[in-house]
Symmetry: C2
Subunit: 130 residues, 2 copies
């Protein structure tokens, strides 16, 4: 089965790039292990491996901003995944309340950061008491 | 300087996601170390760290398919970079001759792979005698 040729790294993980299927914006980058990848395919809801918490992580479980899987792609070396998703809830991929985690632009050539993304919620409201 | 807050991992690397600025297709995923990131900003040409060859790697040096940097973004945790590029030459990001390394789609729910991407060169022609 093709899916068994996917290469997980020495920690059993594979990078997952997430694109909003509607805007094609890259909204998030995270990691999956085999279990979270299988769960993502089975449930159609983006499920990652949290390296900091060392457990499966259904993105948006707390905030309601889950990601519905539309399409899945794999790269030439079978060691990176790309997902096209339909953001649910308020549509924020970022825990800081932005649509995309890549909400900061790096100026060239000086390397300064500036916020360019759209913020759709205030994390203090969403995550308080959780 | 903001650029000094970028987090490289325990191997001194940071993931780099590359989008074609024209189509917004994700065309490649690779890694950078601090030196390759600085070189990318300075030269405006995507320069990675090759983990397999353990050296700086100007993408397209052999094939002519370099990538001109247009915009750079950084994620919320400052541990992943996103580049919008203008592909040069034949416009193939993939060493297998496709515009994008993500030229294969994973069918749901069975996980079969199918080629969906556009191939713009035959690697046997481009890389022979190199």
């Amino acid at each position: 089965m093709a899916i068994n040729t996917i290469k997980f790294d020495e920690k059993g993980l594979i990078p997952a790039i997430v694109q909003d299927a509607d805007t094609d914006d890259v909204v998030m980058f995270a990691w999956m292990n085999k279990e979270s990848f299988k769960k993502t395919l089975e449930t159609g809801v983006m499920t990652y491996w949290s390296r900091s918490r060392q457990k499966l992580w259904i993105k948006g479980e707390t905030s309601g901003n889950t990601q519905k899987v539309l399409d899945v792609y794999i790269d030439c070396d079978a060691d990176c995944l790309l997902f096209k998703v339909e953001p649910q809830g308020l549509g924020a991929a970022c825990h800081k309340g932005y649509r995309s985690c890549f909400f900061r632009k790096v100026s060239l050539p000086d390397g300064a950061f500036s916020v360019v993304g759209e913020r759709v919620f205030d994390p203090e409201d969403v995550y308080k008491n959780k």
